[in-house]
């Protein structure tokens, strides 16, 4: 039988904020936990990121944003993925946002929001749990 295929994760920065040190730390932690990590670079649009996630068929798409534009960006990403009829991509958000936005995003279909300064190990375990719960696809 086949060895377990690594979990595929895409990490993306959307919008204007120009820092990716945090994302890179997370990328390394996920890699060290045996995952394949695809990093998209800075300043991507929601559509670019969503199409890339569909093509790469990632298990998890993690969007990090600090710019406060989450309430417009996440709906665009969700819609593009749905338009492409891609099923089973788990969407995670990271950054800073108020509680009521978190609740609303989860309502829309964002699986989990990891607030800034979540320890990498917690991100690793959250991803593992969500992918296990989703099952094969």
């Amino acid at each position: 039988m086949q060895k377990d295929t690594p979990i595929r994760v895409m990490l993306a920065k959307v919008g204007l904020d120009g820092h990716d040190r945090g994302v890179k730390v997370v990328a390394r932690a996920l890699r060290d936990a045996g995952m394949d990590v695809i990093y998209t670079g800075l300043h991507r649009t929601a559509e670019e990121v969503a199409m890339a996630a569909v093509q790469e068929d990632v298990d998890v798409l993690g969007i990090s944003l600090l710019s406060g534009a989450h309430m417009t960006i996440f709906p665009k990403i969700l819609r593009t993925i749905e338009d492409q009829d891609s099923k089973g991509i788990i969407i995670l958000g990271g950054g800073v946002m108020p509680d009521e936005d978190v609740a609303e995003l989860k309502e829309m279909g964002v699986q989990e929001i990891l607030l800034q300064d979540t320890p990498p190990q917690e991100i690793v375990s959250t991803i593992r749990e969500l992918v296990a719960a989703r099952g094969p696809r």
Partner: protein
């Protein structure tokens, strides 16, 4: 999240042939997870291949391949053709995971449904082409992409693998990488159908180009049986220099191969390589799976000097043959 039952691989094949992006992506994922599990689907896909021009691009890390490919893709799209890229990245041997960074250079292409980019880790496969790479190329071919580009990191055996899987091989070098042209390993020069020296906006690029040309003259560069003079093309992602020329050379090479019958010869060689590689993989899998069982039994007899190693190997292969043929 509750997901609906997974789409059958057979249904995916239909959608792949219609060019549905998510189906192409999903079938590639299933192939990566286990080529055996989607064997029937891949066989069906294989019947519908043969249209795409497969182009391998190789070169040492940092030689500008991904940047070049992004621009080449745009060039191909401007001409109205569809293009796909499989970017093969080596897996970190320590952790099993990897960071696939090529997307950073190619991201602006993402919103276009007729440009498909897929990153792949190598999983430590000898030769750098992951087991799923060529099936993925088949899938993209069957999906209707006119040009399928394979990017591999060229350090050693990898380049040779690319050339064996591609119709046209482009070798990229760049100024300022170690000892310039010496950074290109012996053996890589010969596999190129086209040489690119990237980063020609840099002043030291001219030296790299002339060194490369000199080496090609010494080596009396003759690509295979057809009359093809291997071009050395300087490109720059900054100024856009050389990109037209590169795409023209790629198309010319394809035309020439078609004209002379070289394309058929290369197809045959690729087919042969794939059959042999599959056979090797199958045997290796058997050996691994049987390690505890019959391999152990035979080894014990050999250790007790009741059986010669060669006779042991024959017995093992004989037993495996019966099972595989069925």
């Amino acid at each position: 999240m509750t997901t609906a039952a997974p789409t059958s691989s057979r249904a995916l094949v239909e959608d792949v042939r219609r060019g549905k992006v998510s189906a192409i992506a999903r079938l590639i994922s299933r192939t990566e997870a286990s080529p055996d599990a989607v064997g029937d689907a891949l066989a069906e896909i294989h019947r519908h291949t043969g249209r795409a021009h497969i182009v391998g691009i190789t070169g040492v890390p940092g030689s500008g391949k991904s940047t070049l490919i992004a621009q080449l893709c745009r060039q191909v799209r401007d001409g109205g053709r569809k293009v796909a890229v499989v970017a093969v990245d080596p897996t970190s041997p320590f952790s099993g995971g990897s960071i696939l960074g090529d997307r950073v250079r190619m991201s602006e292409l993402n919103s276009d449904p007729d440009t498909f980019i897929r990153s792949m880790a190598t999983r430590g496969n000898l030769g750098g082409l992951s087991r799923a790479t060529l099936p993925a190329v088949d899938i993209l071919d069957a999906a209707g992409f006119d040009i399928v580009i394979i990017e591999t990191v060229g350090v050693g055996q990898d380049e040779v693998d690319v050339v064996r899987a591609a119709h046209t091989t482009v070798v990229a070098s760049a100024p300022g990488l170690g000892d310039d042209i010496q950074a290109i390993k012996a053996g890589v020069l010969e596999i190129a159908d086209i040489h690119v020296v990237s980063k020609c906006d840099r002043p030291d690029a001219n030296r790299t180009i002339s060194e490369l040309k000199a080496m090609l003259t010494i080596g009396m560069q003759l690509s295979s049986r057809m009359d093809w003079r291997v071009p050395v093309i300087g490109t720059s992602a900054v100024t856009g220099e050389g990109l037209d020329q590169l795409l023209t050379a790629i198309d010319d090479h394809h035309a020439k191969m078609t004209e002379t019958g070289e394309l058929d010869r290369r197809r045959l060689r690729i087919a042969e390589m794939r059959v042999l590689k599959f056979a090797e993989d199958m045997l290796r899998d058997r050996f691994e799976n049987d390690r505890e069982g019959r391999v152990q039994e035979i080894a014990e007899q050999v250790a007790r000097l009741e059986l010669a190693p060669e006779a042991g190997a024959r017995r093992l292969l004989g037993q495996i043959q019966k099972e595989i043929a069925s």
